[in-house]
Symmetry: C2
Subunit: 463 residues, 2 copies
């Protein structure tokens, strides 16, 4: 670590031809820490142009960070000193739908909501959703293997990706745009890019799998005695609702009560419950769909397994009930002061013990608010305090002790790098670095994300 700092290499003339103006606007960061001013912004219009740029960067030893919608919450797209930005903002080929195959081909810079709407207009369904749907790009969702509530039924974004066109950091163009549901011809390099947070390459285009659109949905919220009781309900929900169960979201007291008070929402229950579960079912038959949900909840009520339940009678009700869940996120980001948002993945059975122990760790330091995707073990554990005051070390260590992961859907990015060894051992991290080096000999693309830099680049950039 005491090597002399190399000076930043100059930008070669061939690269300057690709630069965009107004670099300052690429400094925004959803996680709240503005990035450095980029040395320049590169926004290729095609995989070929991206490959040309990456070859120039390799040759000159210049680092770049990939940016999509900049909605990531782990600082993966935040500019670090000395970096150029490689933006997907011009990779905006609009969604092209193949209704017979049930697929969509689309540019990496297209926003999720536009893709959802295009699928719906064709009578199909893109089974991916998240709060930032209006600004998150599909390329970024692939690169970070985005999650969200629908992952319970349909899997994470990885499962929606049939193939990508992308560019490895060494300039190799990868192409799997045939829209093939099954293709075992060679290592699936497009799946290698999914979830690699840009360290193995840039996604330029995608083919996504579309599902048949469910004809109807019903939503219910249930009041329960606690998280353990919510978990205990899961087998009955699976058995009773079968594959139609598509969301199972948990909110732990006092989050919902405070959200309702702060945002003027009407609480569905007369008095706050220790835990509230939001359930969504969607199927081919509107009546059958609702009748089964009703039956399952009735049985649970009679058995005293839930305290109370409210069931949607209309699509307006569905939206209103989801509004409670989405209101919780808005409350935390807008009404609570500085927060530290941890995105934990836990073995389901460990959740009650985890919650009890975590509360002990927070006592007297930060108030915890807990919500998330109970059905897939993904808890958003939000502490009402700034990151430097949060017991993050302790909560992450506790998560790891319970066999969980320190990030379920937000990724490691730049901000969680030092905790990765809690989940992955040194040999695994070394193997990741060998795979990275195999396609990025100059270690130029998204350095310092997921893996520590192999060598210091600038004084500020060192971990």
């Amino acid at each position: 670590m005491c090597q002399p700092e190399p000076a930043l290499p100059p930008l070669p003339a061939a690269l300057r031809a690709h630069l965009r103006d107004d670099a300052a606007r690429y400094r925004d960061d959803a996680a709240g820490t503005p990035g450095a001013a980029p040395r320049g912004v590169l926004a290729p219009r095609s995989a070929e142009e991206a490959a040309e740029i990456l070859c120039l960067l390799q040759e000159a030893g210049l680092a770049a960070v990939v940016q999509g919608g900049r909605t990531g919450l782990s600082g993966g797209a935040r500019v670090q000193p000395g970096e150029l930005v490689l933006s997907t903002e011009r990779l905006t080929a609009p969604p092209r739908i193949d209704a017979v195959a049930g697929t969509m081909t689309v540019g990496a810079g297209v926003v999720l909501e536009a893709a959802q709407q295009a699928a719906r207009a064709a009578g199909l369904y893109l089974a991916a959703d998240l709060g930032a749907r209006g600004s998150a790009t599909l390329g970024g969702m692939a690169a970070t293997n985005a999650g969200g509530p629908l992952a319970l039924r349909y899997g994470t974004f990885r499962q929606q990706v049939l193939g990508v066109e992308g560019v490895l950091p060494d300039g190799t163009i990868v192409r799997r745009l045939g829209g093939l549901y099954k293709d075992n011809s060679g290592l699936d390099l497009s799946q290698y890019l999914v979830g690699s947070e840009g360290i193995l390459g840039l996604v330029t285009r995608l083919v996504l799998r579309l599902h048949p659109a469910p004809a109807a949905r019903r939503v219910a919220v249930c009041a329960l005695d606690g998280a353990a009781e919510a978990l205990a309900l899961l087998p009955a929900l699976r058995a009773g609702l079968g594959p139609d169960l598509q969301a199972c979201e948990l909110m732990i007291d006092p989050l919902l009560a405070e959200t309702c008070a702060a945002r003027g929402l009407r609480s569905p229950f007369a008095e706050p419950a220790p835990a509230v579960l939001l359930l969504e079912v969607a199927g081919t038959d509107p009546e059958a769909c609702g009748a089964r949900l009703e039956a399952v909840l009735e049985t649970a009520l009679e058995a005293g397994r839930i305290r109370d339940a409210v069931l949607s009678a209309s699509e307006a009700d569905c939206l209103r009930l989801w509004g409670l869940r989405e209101g919780c996120s808005q409350f935390l980001f807008q009404n609570v002061g500085p927060i530290t948002s941890l995105d934990l993945s836990l073995p389901l059975a460990a959740i009650p013990a985890f919650l009890a122990e975590a509360e002990g760790l927070c006592a007297g330091r930060a108030r915890p608010y807990v919500f998330g995707h109970l059905g897939d073990g993904n808890l958003h554990y939000v502490l009402a305090c700034p990151p430097d005051a949060a017991p993050t070390d302790e909560i992450f260590a506790l998560t790891a002790r319970h066999g969980g992961a320190i990030t379920a859907e937000h990724g490691i990015g730049a901000d969680k790098l030092r905790w990765l060894p809690l989940c992955r051992d040194a040999a695994e991290i070394a193997a990741m670095a060998r795979l990275k080096r195999a396609v990025d000999p100059g270690w130029i693309l998204n350095p310092g994300r997921i893996l520590p830099r192999p060598f210091p680049q600038t004084p500020e950039a060192r971990p």
Copy 2:
């Protein structure tokens, strides 16, 4: 290619301690070409023992091939001269089910059918099936990203794998056994092993995702005017059946008629149809499920889009109708003389044109039999002739011209290596080789599968 052949390195003493007897029984090959006699058989009982073995192999420069159930159809597990066998037959930790999380943890050497039964006994559903269910192992299914009819609804085996324990060829142990639905902490090395056909490592244990068990299924077979008409029906099937549509299998005349004649099965239709489609729906509600299928078929019949349809009235009917589809495979492997079985993946829209052109290529050379998973574009194109007489070059080239892949679910293995450049360009194949080298410096695990050997090992082993 004119370098002197290196002599085979001797087996080190430490490795000899791991060897098993009766090596000859590892020569079987489902694709029909018996392998060489292995130099020895290694059957580790744990990831740790596998890692120890792989380190010894690396050190000594000895090649080994991974074997599971030896049901692969591309020769990936067939022993090549000079190789040792690395068998998963002792990695048989029985299925352990977590009913709350909906997951199964199981040894890589366990057979698919045992896992299906264990899931069913717990009221859950392992959404993977294939003809070789009685002998294919779960480790092999992960390594080859197995397909099958259920992939239409649930995705390929990749989508069932929440994580694996495995060993990279350099001895690195990879562990993702937490059963987490979402885990973005670092590159997902377990997904890297899926579909790598053993060249990037050995799978020793898996955590599989289980689905809620559908309460009921209905099956129908429909007679149609041809493949184009079958394809044209797909959007109506998706719209009418929604997410309950879980299989959509095609059989093209004369396959079904000859199968019925040869195997004493009763044809469902009075006269042979140019194309027959088998549909399966499965949902939460037995009655609604069948009623919708009935309605969709009625509409199609009235519109003249299908000629005739037979609908199951009982589970026995379901089995009988599936028996027709499975009878086709048995007919081809047991009643037709030597065959060449090609496993093609095609963009759905290209299928009718492909079929017409392929028939032209076969004319006067080999009789083609066609069936497969129409809903996901996977056709099994079977030629009634031995491989050396089959127009494989031409059919594969035609597949590639239509944007298809030369293998949908069987993989490249050793047998399709020379055709890989039809689907993947030289730069992509070179990138695969760099990734392989990054974790297998001695190129010792499954050499000559997917990728050509980087150096000749024995005279017989050269392509």
